[in-house]
Amino acid sequence: MTLFRRKDVVLLLLIVSVLMAASCKKRVAATPPPPPPPVAPAPPAPAPAITLRAQPATIERGQSSTLQWEARNAATVQIDPEVGQVAVTGNRQVNPTSSVTYIARATGPGGTATDNARVTVNVPPPPPPPPPAPPKTPDKTISQLFLENVHEIYFDYDKADIRPDEVAKLQNNATWLKQNASVRFTLEGHCDERGSEEYNLGLGDRRANAVKEFLLSQGLAASRINTVSYGEERPVCHEQNEDCYKRNRRAAFTMNP
């Protein structure tokens, strides 16, 4: 029943060991690698060269352009700004938000070479308006700017409607407040001293909320706006005449800390 006879097994082992010996010997005795190509000592290395192109060269803001470059005799290629070290030949999509000149620098044994390509970015015709206020200087805190740009709104006697002649001012307040979306503020409703103290608490409320509703209609978030009525308790002017009364009938803006 045995598959192989003993004589066959011995023969097989012999063959296997010969083969193994041969293969081991073959590995050990592998031929040495060919010598490296002789370094050309004499002629100086050729100077590198590089070309850089942007396609398209003019884009609208938000679109992208593709940089393509090809260098010869170079070991490394660096493209600035922002792209960094790249392969010797290649391309890369870029999304500059304003016009920029890319510079590619190829470095090789023979020295360096540069090329540049400009991408012109067209800004859409009406850009988000630059701040109408004079450029911010570090000296001005946001609360100073708030005071300079956000003004009190005045009301008629016993009325809480926004007066037509106060709309432009309120519109300006809204514009500034929209541009400064981190500012949270309180609208204080105030009254002159005439009329009953309690009724004036209610009237002040209506004034504060009339201004709030205007601001909401301009897109301000309700969560930024606190309202309060001080009735006739916080006058800015203390005499008993119409000049004073009209200054006291107001909605005042105060910035929340």
Binding site: S196, E197, E198, N226, V228, E233
Partner: protein, 454 residues
């Protein structure tokens, strides 16, 4: 007025004809008269009472000054009750009247004096206490002469002495003034700026004993009393927030009230003390009247109107109706609604500005301030709910605003600029006996307490 005069005449005849028949019980019955008069009469004669000065019975360094205080306070309390006529001391017989043996009834019932009652007694100061032996005699009832005979005591201070005089005065008023308790021991909360900012103060009904309840150095307004005579709710202004607070007038303890957001003002206690009505702009745009448990929970909206709705006040008799101010008609006017917010009706049909409703304890009258045209002053009026009639109580004396009823329904306090600056005055509900009870600073927004148990 004619009807009243006839009543008075009949009464006078009755007492003249049958003085000996009147027992103390029947006397109490004849005291129905001042109740009828209380809010409409002017100058009708009340029960005539003689009040000779109480005498010092035991020498003490403080006795003279305190006895003098007692005599002044007792006289003023009785005089100001509005239901008694005090016989001038210049008509009294000569002598000192400290003991029952000092009183010869016929000396006090002569036509010159013609008193129906006499209050007299003596004081004793010792051991840090003042003790007052006080009597009220019914001069026309020999069978039951002594209506009051009682010893009152307190610590030997000005305040303690005032309290003793108030107690005796209140007992006299209740007994012979128509069965309604005297108000000499009640208090008035109000707002004063005498120390810079507007704070809530509490004083006795006659302006004495004033002390600050708050010291927020901001603005506190519109104090109102809980029916328990201890808690006072009011409007407090902070930076960027206006809401309600509740403090104890006794120890200034703060009771929590959960403000609903928005500007929340003008609280008013329900007559059972369990609820507060108030105005709040929590929904934005304008103030509405809400009611909540007195801790601010279980908030319910009562008004729905694109206008100012403010200054709620409960019908103290029933608790079933709330009066308030609204400018829904274009100018501020007084409305009444059921306590659920339904059945809103305006109470004064004439124009102008009608504000500051104050509901009398009997539920029948609403005092208010009315500015009939934009250029006129505010004056105090009383609106009779049954007849719809408006009685004018003040005139030609600056702005008179914010009336508040004493619990006897016979007196009102209010704020007036008659002296140049706003001060608290009080008067009888017919507009007589006006007296200014504050002096320093601007004093506004009075709220008269309920009866206070001492």
């Amino acid at each position: 007025m004619r009807k009243l005069s006839i009543l008075v005449l009949l009464f006078g005849l009755a007492t003249f004809a049958y003085p000996r028949l009147m027992s103390p019980r029947s006397f109490a019955e004849r005291q129905q008269r001042p109740q009828i008069e209380a809010h409409t009469d002017r100058g009708i004669v009340g029960v005539k009472i003689a009040v000779p000065e109480f005498q010092v019975a035991a020498a003490d360094p403080k006795a003279d000054a305190l006895t003098s205080t007692f005599n002044k306070v007792l006289w003023d309390d009785l005089d100001y009750s509005g239901v008694l006529t005090l016989v001038s001391r210049s008509f009294y017989p000569l002598g000192k009247f400290a003991q029952p043996g000092d009183i010869h009834v016929e000396d006090w019932t002569t036509p010159a004096v013609d008193a129906e009652f006499i209050a007299f007694g003596n004081t004793r100061v010792s051991g840090g206490r003042i003790s007052v032996e006080a009597r009220l005699w019914d001069l026309k009832n020999p069978q039951n002469r002594e209506a009051i005979g009682k010893r009152y005591g307190s610590e030997d201070t000005e305040d303690g002495t005032r309290l003793v005089a108030h107690e005796f005065a209140d007992a006299i008023v209740e007994l012979i003034g128509g069965g309604i308790r005297g108000i000499a021991q009640t208090k008035i909360a109000y707002v004063s700026d005498r120390n810079g900012s507007k704070e809530v103060y509490v004083m006795d009904y006659d302006g004495n004993n004033s002390y600050p309840l708050t010291s927020y150095r901001s603005t506190a307004l519109t104090p109102v009393w809980a029916p328990d005579g201890e808690k006072i709710a009011f409007t407090r202004m902070r930076t960027g927030a206006v809401g309600l607070e509740i403090l104890s007038r006794i120890d200034r303890r703060s009771y929590p009230f959960q403000n609903p957001g928005g500007t929340t003002t003008t609280p008013a206690w329900s007559p059972d003390g369990s609820l507060l009505a108030f105005a709040t702009s929590r929904d934005g745009s304008d103030t509405e009247i809400y009611v909540a448990d007195w801790n601010g929970k279980n908030l319910r909206r009562l008004t729905v109107s694109k206008s100012v709705d403010i200054s709620p006040v409960w019908n103290p008799k029933t608790g079933r109706e709330i009066a308030f101010v609204s400018d829904r008609s274009g100018s501020a006017q007084i409305y009444i609604m059921d306590a659920e917010g339904t059945n809103v009706r305006r109470i004064i049909e004439e124009g102008g500005t009608a504000v500051n409703p104050a509901w009398s304890s009997d539920g029948q009258r609403i005092a208010f301030a009315w500015q009939k045209s934009r250029t006129s002053y505010f004056d105090i009026y009383v609106h009779d709910l049954a007849t719809g009639k408006n009685d004018q109580l003040t005139q030609d004396s600056g702005n008179n605003e914010r009336p508040t009823w004493a619990p006897d329904g016979r007196h009102l306090a209010f704020e007036s600029t008659r002296s140049g600056t706003a001060q608290i005055c009080s008067m009888l509900a017919d507009g007589t006996k006006v007296r200014q009870i504050t002096q320093t600073g601007k004093n506004t927004g009075p709220a008269w307490s309920q009866y206070i148990e001492h």
